[in-house]
Symmetry: C2
Subunit: 301 residues, 2 copies
């Protein structure tokens, strides 16, 4: 026991990965209030929106305005998702500390998601990564479906490594490995992290779990066993699963905080203030979010 780290870095992806899968559109003013509440709670990194074309993600069509209006708290890194050169330009105008690029480890999922083969995607991301680095920005490479693909099933760790190698070669600062459909169990996490951590320093590896089958907290424990100290998570488990309306999405930051603080791991986040930010967006969305610890708090109010 006692294998967990002293400190864990959490990137809050609720305003982006969370809201992009929600049907209800949140007003720009509410998003700005909410993101400010998140930074006030002590969150050190927030993915505040996506500069993907509004046609694809209408819920985030105000990315530019949100970026302009949020109060930039010193010490907090504000990042955004950028799909291509055009998206990066808009993001730079709106103000970002970091840019996140994305692609899949699975050929079929990549094709369905960004309408290009993996090999066709590489040159697009290479250009974005190089431009973002030239502009002095931190760049994270999201790799999705690293465990299972809804079309292809189990993904070989070698397929994941093939994509990671190229993204690092293009200049990304770190990699966020996504269990996009929330199917992984701890043994799969180990089977992927073993070869990954032989190849890359652990500081470059972020784990991004979805809680679709309730396995995310156990997968985070296992990742920490392997030395991982960086995780993406979403306020209240916001986000749902695009493949099954009503099912859970990103692992809830609230549950992650309950786990980590209970283990004595520091995050720098004030749980009570964070809870308030979660209740704020839950109220705006008008539905109970999937986080069990948030549900417990809500039920007691």
């Amino acid at each position: 026991m006692g294998r967990w780290p002293d400190l864990v870095q959490i990137k809050e992806v609720g305003p982006r990965d969370g809201l992009q899968n929600e049907k209800k559109i949140i007003s720009t003013a509410d998003k700005v209030n909410w993101i400010n509440m998140l930074s006030e709670s002590g969150v050190k990194e927030i993915e505040y929106s996506s500069f993907v074309h509004p046609k694809w993600v209408p819920a985030l069509s105000d990315a530019h305005e949100v970026g302009r209006k949020i109060k930039r708290k010193p010490g907090v890194k504000y990042s955004a998702l950028v799909p291509n050169q055009k998206g990066l330009e808009l993001a730079l105008e709106a103000g970002i500390d970091g840019a996140s690029v994305f692609m899949s480890a699975s050929e079929s999922h990549n094709k369905k998601n960004i309408n290009k083969s993996i090999d066709e995607t590489f040159p697009v991301l290479k250009e974005v990564i190089e431009e973002a680095k030239k502009a002095g920005k931190h760049v994270t490479g999201y790799v999705s479906t690293v465990f299972d693909c809804p079309y292809e099933g189990r993904i070989d760790p070698d397929e994941v490594i093939r994509v990671c190698d190229r993204l690092l070669e293009f200049g990304v600062d770190d990699l966020s490995l996504g269990d996009t459909i929330g199917t992984a169990v701890p043994s799969q996490v180990g089977q992927l992290l073993e070869p990954i951590l032989k190849r890359y320093p652990k500081e470059k590896v972020i784990m991004h779990f979805h809680d679709t089958r309730g396995m995310a907290i156990a997968n985070i424990m296992t990742s920490m066993d392997y030395g991982i100290t960086r995780f993406d998570s979403s306020v209240g488990g916001l986000g749902g699963c695009p493949y099954a309306p009503g099912a859970a999405g990103n692992v809830a930051t609230n549950d992650v905080l309950y786990l980590l603080h209970g283990l004595g791991v520091k995050t720098g986040i004030d749980e009570k203030k964070f809870q308030e930010a979660a209740l704020y967006i839950q109220n705006k969305l008008g539905k109970v979010l999937p986080s069990k610890s948030l549900a417990y708090t809500t039920a007691q109010l």
Copy 2:
């Protein structure tokens, strides 16, 4: 990796621990159908009801009739909760393979729950345990609030051991250690299991987690790290939390099966048939149960 056992024994407690906390009363005929579906799915042990006075648990006032009407599948152990001598007599009449007695490791919780001090509870349980053993029945001792108490906070493992020692001395065959309010994180599981497993063989120890804050699956992983191979769980996470209406209760058997089968651990349970039994009771209760893997399945229907 690969620390988990080949085989795990699951006791399905939904018909008892689950239903006793649900507001909606399920008809006897529906309970019987449901319990028969559970045994058909391959569950080897089912706690089918409680012989606590109906005044305290009106949802289970038909315990006797349920016990008489369920189809006894060979190889399946049917047990029931018995609070005292009177309850045991009724349970024996209705037919049980095993009797479960219960008390708390926390003085205040024991007092609130069974209106007696811990020392006053011992002679009552001693009599029941001895009578049940004389009748040739398996006896399990539930010890609740082994990690935290809603009134006293953190419970010292020595307090848990004090109660376990007496129950074993009275003749219980095994102990089920309950995270009654679902607050424990994996470090607490380790801190309790270390002294417990120095004192008792692991075969005698069953872990009984509630998923109130979403930690149960991680706690089960940690318990398996310590060698535990027996768990209580409830169909769909049925049961809720008596301290916070709307919050999650027992860990969902569906999620436990997803974890274990994903790890390659055998349970003897057919996941698909089990899912059908979960959908059956979810439909009868008319509400979505807390299990995330069940929610995913339900959302796809």
